[in-house]
Every structure is written in C-alpha cells, then in structure tokens.
C-alpha cells in the first residue's frame, strides 16, 4: 500500500507516493534519480550506500523509506554547495584517495557523519568510525589522510 512520504533531501523538501517498506537506497537511486549512493552488499556490511539521516551516517540499504519520513537526508549529491566541492571532497581529490571510486560516495558520507559529530577526530577515531566501509582497491591510507586534512580545514 502506497503512502505519501515526505522528507528533506539535500536541503529541499520532497514528498511522493511510495510503498513505505521500500528500501531507501533503491528509492534514492530509482525513484529520486540520485545514483551517487551505491549498492555494495545489501546487508549493511560495506558502507557503499551510506547517507546522512538527521546528522548521523546510516546504511541506506538497511532503511525502509518510512524510517526517514519527516527527517533530513543528505546524499553525496548534497555536499557540493554553490558549485564548490565540500572540503572532504576536495581532500579526497588532493590526496588521490580513491581508485575505482565506487566506494567513494559512501566513504565521504560516512566521514561527513563523523566530522558532524566529532569535528577533530584522532586517527584512531577515524579508523574506528570508518571500519565498516570497505574499499577493495586499497585506498585506505589516503582516505584517512584526506579525512584528517578536511578536519583541519573545517
């Protein structure tokens, strides 16, 4: 049964008819056309689908869309402001902190969630927070450095 679900998406209100049990990841990617959020495992084990819900990093593959009703959702597409990359995005570019790039949106969103709540994380806090995000290409060292750089700038 469809319901009207509304939430704030990247700072703008959205409202649409949807089966409330649909998975947020797929609603973002198909219904709302935001393909930056990726599928990697479907079970919350890889972090490729990470988005921010009310200031906290969440796995969108584990959320039914009704869970974000009336909340604020930020995806990778919401980080660029006035054509300017977010400091995290800039730092990922400057540190070459990616290879295939498929895990990158999830990495950046999880790091964004970390910096929202812990603006000056220690290296071990970064590692602990990012440990659920998998990167198969092995850009880990640079991702940590990029997060450290962005934290300094923010």
């Amino acid at each position: 049964m469809k319901e009207t679900i509304g939430f704030s998406l990247n700072g703008k209100p959205v409202s649409f008819e949807v089966d409330p049990q649909r998975i947020l990841l797929w609603v973002l990617r198909y219904d709302l056309g935001l393909t930056g959020t990726k599928y990697g495992c479907g079970e919350g084990l890889c972090g490729a689908c990470t988005v921010i819900v009310d200031g906290k990093a969440e796995h969108s593959c584990q959320l039914e869309v009704k869970a974000v009703a009336d909340k604020a959702v930020t995806t990778i597409e919401g980080l660029v402001k006035n054509g300017e990359l977010h400091p995290l995005q800039k730092a990922f570019v400057e540190h070459d902190a990616l290879q295939c790039g498929y895990c990158t949106p999830g990495m950046i969103m999880n790091a964004y969630g970390l910096l929202l709540n812990t603006p000056q994380p220690s290296r071990s806090q970064i590692i602990e927070h990012m440990d659920g995000n998998l990167c198969r290409c092995g850009a880990h060292q640079r991702i940590i450095e990029a997060i450290q750089t962005a934290a300094k700038e923010l």
Binding site: Y30, V93, I126
Partner: protein, 744 residues
Amino acid sequence: MKREHKGQGSVYEEYLKLDEVGPNPSTDGFGRRGDPSADGRSPLRFDRRQFLQFVGGGIVVCFSIPDSLALQEGERRRGMGQELPQDFNAFLRIGEDGRVSGFTGKVEYGQGVITSLAQMLAEELDVPLKSVDMVMGDTDLCPWDMGTFGTMTTRFFGPAFRAAAAEARAVLIELAAEQLQVTKDRLKTKAGVVYEVAGQKEVSYAELAKGKKILRHVKGVAPKSPSDFVLIGKPVLRRDAAAKVTGQAIYAGDVREPGMLHARILRPPVHGAKLIHADTSGAKEIEGAQIVEDGDLIAVLHPYPDLAERALAKIKSEYDRPVPAVDDKTIFDHLLKVAPQGQTVTEGGNLAEGRSTAHYVLEQTYLNSYVSHAPIETHTALAKIEGNKVTLWASTQTPFALREAAASLLGLPAQNVRVITPYIGGAFGGKSNNQQALEAVRLAKLSGKPVQVAWTRAEEFFYDTFRPAAIVKIQAGVTESGLISFWDYGVYFAGERGAPQFYNIPHHRTVVYGSGWTTVPGSHPFATGPWRAPGSNTNCFGRESHIDMLAAKVGMDPVEFRLKNLKDERMQRVLQAAANEFGWSPAKGPSKRGYGVACGTDAGTYVAHMAEVAVNERTGSVVVNRVVCAQEMGLCVNPEGARLQMEGGITMGLGYALSEEVRFKGGEILHSNFDTYTIPHFSWLPQIKTVILDAKDSPCQGGGEPPIICMGAVIANAVFDATGARLLQLPMTPERIKDALSRI
C-alpha cells in the same frame, strides 16, 4: 581534392575541406554523416574516408599495439570478417577546437590509466594535460582491443600511444611550416602552440587542425627522450576524481533508459544443481512484476530492484543437488590427484649433482585457497534492443569480447552491437566473462524492454571466477656456506606466471601442472579465473617461504641469504632499496622482531617487500604494523598513480594473506556476503611506505599487479621471524597460526 605529401618517412593524405570527403562508392555505400551509431554500424566497418568522416575534422593518427598477443588477435578478428581501414588498435585526434582525444578499447577500473595515458599524450604533443580527453571502452567509438588485463596497458599500449602523439606533433610542425612560411627546423611546440624560435610567428594546434582531414598511421617517429620530459615522470592526480567524489561518475548500474526493468534471476543453491520444479505464482502477486520463463532461465522483472527482489523471494523452487565430492579441506588432495601432466618451463644443470653437493635438503608443500575478486561494484549491465540494434552498458574488462558474445547470442553481426563501458567499480581480473551482460541481453530480448542485471552480493560470490586453489611443492638444497645448490619446483593449478625462480642456482627445474584458470575437467567444483597477478601470488608464496626456510637452516639473515644467492643486479638493487627504507638490520631468523622479506618479478617489474608483524600467540591473530614495498618498473609515467597502485596492492594483499578463503562444500559456496568472507578493513591498515626506483631510461613495465605478489610470503616470513612457526597455507588464519605454533 587530395594531395599527397611525403614527410618524415611516411605518406599521408590530406583532405583540404570536410565536404570534399564523400562516401566511398567501392563499399556498401552507407556514407552517413552525423550520429555514428545511427545505423548501428561501427566505424571499424568504414573504409578510410568513412572513418575520417566519423571522427570529424582535425588530425587523426592511428597506431597498433606492438604486442604479439594483440597481433594474434588481429589475425583472429580479420578472420571474423571485420574490416578495418588499416590494422590499428587505437587512435588519437586533434580536434578543430584544439582538444586532443585519445580513443582506446582499454577501460578504467581504478588502475588509473585514464590519467597516465592522457599524461603520455600531453607530453608527446606538448599540450596542457587539461586539454586531453580519453574515450575508452566504447566499441562504436574505439578500435578493437582484446581487453584490459595483465598489466599491459602502460607496457604495450603506452609506447605506441606515445609514438602516435609524437607523429601528430610532427604533422603539426609540418602544417605550421607551410602556414607560417618558416622552415621546420626553426619551429618548436609548447602548450598547444607551434612557434618560431627567436621569432614572432606562432600558430595554435586548433588553428592548424581547422578545416583539415588528416589521417596518418604511425611509422617510426621517435617519442621524446626522458631528458626532455615535462609531464611523464611527474606525479599527477587522478583525472576522474572530481566525478567520483561528487557521485556524478556513471557506473553501469547508474545508466537509466526509459521503460527499463530490473531483473532478479532464480539461481540454483549450488553449482551443478538441476531445477526440478519452480512455482512462480507468488511472484505474480507483486504489483508490476513480470515473470520471464525461458528454458533454464526464470527471472522477475520490475521497474524497482527491491520489488524485483521481493517478487523473487516468493518463487518456490526445488533443485536436485549433486552429492558434494570435495570441500575446502579435501580440495588439495583432489587437485593433486587430477592434475594434468607437468610441463617443464625452465631447467638447468643436473639435479642429482645438486643434491650431492647439498648440506641440507628441505622439502615442503605450500597451499593456497580459492579467493574471490570481491569488487565493491557487483557485475552489472543494462541491455537495450531496438530492432536489430543492441546497446549494452556493462561493467566489463572485455567490451569487444562482449560485443561478439552478445551478437552471437542474438544471431546478429557484431557491428549491430554497441558496448559502452562506463566507469568500472573494481575488476581485478574478475570482470572478463560478461555473464551478467549476456543475461541482460537475453532478458531484454525476451521482454522487449531495456533490462538491467545487477548481481546481488550473494550472486557475486556464487558466480565469481575465483582464483584457483593451488599447490606448490619444492625440494631444495643448500650448502653449508649458504649457497643454494639445487631447486626442484612444481606448481599445481596456479600456472606458469611467477613460477621460474631467479636466484643463482646451478641445478634447477620448474615444472607447471595445469594452467591457472583454464579448467581441467573434474578439477575445480566451480569457475576459476585470473585474479590480480594470476599465478604470481601462489608462486611467490611458495618460493619466498622456501628461500626463507633455507636461510634459517644455515643460520643466515634472510636478506643477506637472498643477496648472496642473487646475481641479478636489478633484484639486488630492489632488495637493498627496500632494506634501506625499512631499516633492516641483519639477524638470523627467528629473531623475534617479526620482520619478513620477500621479493619477486611480475609483468617485467622487480619488487621487494618487507613487513613487520606482531603475533598474538594466544589468539593466533596477526597485526601487520608496517610494510615497505620497493619497485623497479622501468619508466614510471605517473609516480603518484603508481604509488596508489602499490599501496592498493599491499592493502588488498593483506586479505589473501590473512583472511580470504572461499569455503565450500562441493558446488555450494558457503559465503554470500562480507560477514563471512572478510576483506581488509581500515583497522588492518599497516604503515605503508613505497619506493619507486629510478629507471626512466628503460621501457615501462607493469605497475598494478607486482605490488601484491609478495604479500603472502612477506607476512608468512614475518610470522616465522616473530614466533618460529612456519605457515604453509594461505590464508594464515588464527586457527592455522595456532596450529603452526603448536607444532614448533
């Protein structure tokens, strides 16, 4: 109007005006303009003029990859009736807007060639890097290519690409000489401009290309010498990063076509199972679900993947499961039993004589398990069929092979199929078979709609072409003074790559039993295939573990022992470089420091790793504290990209060394996700240092695969140094480490 020019040893044709170029009446007469895919024909069907018409105005230089394998493939594709204007694998074009485009069938899956190839073009052409675009893996726009694998892009493609750019620059200078009325020897190039030395005259490449239609094939123009490099050898950041950090980069799963449906396919529970019965009635209850049944293929199509999944879950099925014959423990005995006859790939001296001079003889068997590629992007493809024309967007390392396979599946000529390769979310050798894309083609044909197949993680683990389980058996002897006297080596099911040893051993033999991935019937219970540096990881683990044991046997430091037994100066240099960076001080193993060393060669590159580990002897867990990797890869085009690949190889290699192992019972894969198949996490990360040895005067070698090959051996040797326990099987799980400790 056509003029013939002779210059720099090659003939080229210059067409003065675009509209003078018409269709060639001697062909089948489809001289179309505009959209190159309008009638579904590839430009590779064109003759020279049609080809020129397709690429538009400007200066085009075509070239071939001078690789024997590519040449063989060239024979093959001619046999398949594909006509090329000339036999070439790639081309570059200087457009009338001054932008330079490189067209290649090679693809980008993270290895960074989208940056390094552009760097080569910019260097040889003297244009700013930002004015270069790479067009990759589109079978309508790019000439045929056999596939992106084997660390071959920079090694084999690179030199030809540079030569083509050098040729293009020579053409530009000739054109400028005519236009500026200046002799060629007074002209130089810089930043997309030809200028007169000590003069006022200059003209941009854009102006020179305007209204021109020049096509040349490269013949013997020498690229720049290393002392003239401005860009090659300089660290350059990834050119695809901005698209990737904003979520704008398009992967196969991000492509949307009107009316497209998402497929979920009914899968057998184990390899070899036969479907007895399926009841799809439950799936039909999901609104919008469309069931497709065609022989062995049962699938649900739905506009939304999560609802397709929901519908698939409602299908009740029953399978006849074969009795499991082998599992992850018995597989090694099984493989030894079914191994094909060995082939001696290298030998020298006389093994019996070597045995007689040995003071110690050491015999050992090394095992490694099946491992998964596990790219974070699962196999994905979207197929669209319109009339007799097919467009495929696929996550693939082999777009041209896919084009042929899709065409053959549908009974169409290959040129009716266009494969577009968007960014690929990791591949590592695992995205060469294209099963998912052919499934999408079949479902698009059956449903009449564009269909996307994106494997779930469980499907990815089920259909992955795993790195084969393999066995290495070595018998070797050493003299009292620490010289290796003989080396008798056999490898089963990993293949030849990395098998021949490179130490100075008078009596030796290397025998290879079975290829790394061509299936011997009755051997592996599921598909296997190439996995990053195929063969080398297995062979390096066996060889370098055994070398370490010989060193310990004669009470020598493992680095000194290697250097003493090496004559190869490149390897000596690489080992020394790693030792310097690591701060290695000689000690007999096990020294309790947890230091390990291993070295090897792969894809023409020499590599040495050193690692420091800490072993918890109670739990059997290993922490890798630091890894140094020194690599000599000839001319290194982009040191930043190379370091990124080295760090990536080290980090990825921690997985097959410590945790990655496909557990199975017959054809049943006991992993469906990352909870039980554990790949490296942030918390495993050692301190990593990379050293690239200067070798800019020698040809480019491989960069992306060599840095992973020593990871099993270097950690095994470090574990031995820490504890005295010798690990003979990869991965070195806590269970195996505790077992090894108990046997000291």
